[in-house]
């Protein structure tokens, strides 16, 4: 059907997008790779020559590295457990017959549209502030001493803020998946005498498996890169310095570009391992 001329026209039409993305990917990537093998201190002498793998070794052996890895894993893991767990429950709830379903849906997905700096600041000041925050009022109402959330429970606070932002995403995708579940299959299970919990475990959950995997993969990639939520709340103190934030500090705050770039290469490798799984799933879907 496609003629030779329409094929070359198609190639020409694809060219701008492909070339732009290729440049966007390759140029900074190659620069980061080059910097990572150099001693490069823009404010203290500039480019001081090649140092081999020294930056890679120093980044991993620095005292800040392992805490940042564990902070990253705890935040990503915590947010995933909360958003997927609550997301499944919420999706099931929202799929039941009720009045005002459309409005509830709107209420639930709204946090996703709030810009990260706003949600971080609103939570930090109006909810978690130990003097005037709403949580402090509630704690006082029950006679408890208010908690200094962002210093005493810094990780839990960040996980709470980020979970609030991502719960809508998980819920919406899982709800879409549930709605494609065959009603007849559930009814058949009910006829066969399967209890609600059995129906959930043997019919609904397996059906959601694919959607849950997609949610986990996509969220992981974005959660590895969370920045604004930490930037406006703790600035990486109180044990909330994630890998992303550590690299940011090395590169822009202490202007040690070589070291930060080596960290960047680690982050890229990490994200790619996850991306491969995601791409496989998307690719399979493309074949259908």
């Amino acid at each position: 059907m496609a003629t030779q001329s329409s094929r070359s026209a198609a190639r020409l039409m694809m060219a701008p997008a492909v070339i732009l993305l290729l440049g966007w990917m390759l140029v900074p990537l190659v620069m980061t790779l080059l910097f990572s093998f150099k001693k490069y201190l823009p404010l203290r002498g500039g480019d001081l020559g090649w140092v081999g793998f020294e930056n890679y070794v120093r980044f991993v052996t620095s005292s800040a590295f392992w805490p940042s890895v564990s902070a990253t894993l705890i935040i990503v893991g915590g947010v995933l457990i909360i958003t997927v767990g609550l997301g499944v429950l919420l999706a099931i709830l929202l799929n039941q017959p009720m009045w005002g379903q459309g409005i509830v849906r709107i209420l639930v997905i709204s946090p996703f549209f709030v810009m990260p700096t706003v949600s971080a600041l609103v939570w930090k000041n109006m909810f978690m502030d130990p003097v005037n925050g709403l949580f402090a009022h509630i704690w006082k109402f029950f006679g408890a001493a208010p908690i200094e959330w962002l210093s005493q429970a810094s990780m839990q606070s960040i996980i709470l803020i980020v979970s609030w932002q991502w719960l809508p995403f998980a819920t919406l995708i899982l709800l879409t998946a549930i709605q494609s579940l065959d009603r007849e299959q559930l009814e058949a299970a009910e006829m066969d005498g399967a209890a609600p919990l059995q129906r959930f475990g043997y019919v609904t959950l397996p059906h959601l498996g694919r959607a849950i995997t997609v949610v986990v993969l996509i969220q992981t990639i974005f959660l590895l890169g969370i920045f604004a939520e930490i930037f406006v709340t703790t600035q990486g103190s109180f044990g909330t310095r994630t890998l992303t934030y550590l690299i940011y500090q090395r590169v822009l705050e202490s202007q040690n570009v070589g070291l930060g770039s080596a960290g960047g290469v680690y982050a890229i490798i990490l994200a790619n391992i996850i991306a491969i799984f995601l791409m496989r799933m998307v690719g399979k879907n493309l074949d259908q």
């Binding site: 990917m25 694919r210 406006v232």
Partner: protein, 276 residues
């Protein structure tokens, strides 16, 4: 009998869902309510919910000080510019992928998506350096380019899925009638693709509006959009809850409303079609 049971279940479902929904929405509601309070009422102990004297003074103060209009304008230019530019680049690419697919189409599409997975912090310094060299640091042009490139994979992807649903027979019929490639795109394809292009535009405008890594790191005073404006409240101005709330409300409410309209396209757009 069975009817009574289902309607009782419906009442319970409704109550549970509305409770959860309002709980999740509460921080937004609380921000909007606080924006209409005086600073003293905003930190009152115990907190006041609706029984206060509503005032617009916070909005007036925020609009007066700090060139709010400039931040807003920057946000509109950056989000709008990057989205429109992205669509101009993506429409031809998505068109050719959907209607003249080759063996490599799938690989190119997946590769494009994979560039979206590149962690921004990994390429922060190179971009920073390139921006300094080209004089793009703290410029709207620079951010338009970066956000366009960042969202291009999603734009191409969304358009591709919409275009693929347009039946090829219609295009063939147009071709039989002697339509040229240009006419085919302009008069046959575009009208059918308008809804898809519109929802792509909407979702990517929202994503660009809320982007908070590049906008915080590549701007200073001149080109800073609302994300950076709000971040400037982190201390010590954040202690002025009512003003913080007014500024936040103005930054999120327009996008919230746009978001409600785009919720149908959200799932396929954000999961790259992996969940339908």
């Amino acid at each position: 009998m069975a009817r009574a049971v289902t309607s009782r279940r419906k009442i319970i479902n409704t109550a549970a869902a509305w409770t959860v929904g309002l709980l999740i929405f509460f921080p937004i509601l609380w921000t909007i309510l606080t924006s209409f309070k005086t600073e003293a009422t905003a930190i009152a102990d115990p907190p006041v919910f609706i029984g206060f004297d509503w005032t617009l003074e916070n909005y007036a103060t925020v609009l007066e000080r700090s060139d709010y209009a400039r931040f807003l304008w920057n946000s509109i230019i950056i989000a709008g510019g990057s989205t429109i530019l992205g669509i101009l680049v993506a429409v031809p690419a998505a068109w050719s992928m959907a209607f003249v697919p080759s063996k490599r189409t799938k690989d190119i599409l997946l590769w494009m998506l994979s560039t979206k997975m590149l962690p921004a912090v990994g390429v922060l310094y190179p971009i920073y350096l390139i921006f300094i060299k080209l004089g793009l640091l703290d410029s709207r042009t620079g951010l338009v380019i970066v956000l366009m490139l960042m969202n291009l994979p999603i734009i191409v992807w969304m358009l591709y899925t919409y275009f693929r649903e347009i039946p090829g027979e219609i295009l063939e019929a147009a071709r039989m009638d002697g339509a040229s490639l240009k006419e085919e795109i302009l008069y046959v394809l575009t009208p059918m693709a308008v809804p898809g292009i519109a929802s792509t535009l909407l979702l990517n405008f929202i994503l660009a509006w809320n982007e908070a890594f590049w906008t915080l790191n590549l701007t200073a005073a001149k080109a800073a959009p609302l994300t950076a404006f709000i971040a400037s409240y982190s201390s010590p101005e954040g202690l002025f809850y009512a003003k913080l709330s007014a500024a936040s409300t103005m930054a999120i409410v327009p996008i919230l409303i746009l978001g409600w309209f785009s919720q149908k396209q959200l799932v396929s757009g954000l999961t790259f079609g992996a969940v339908k």
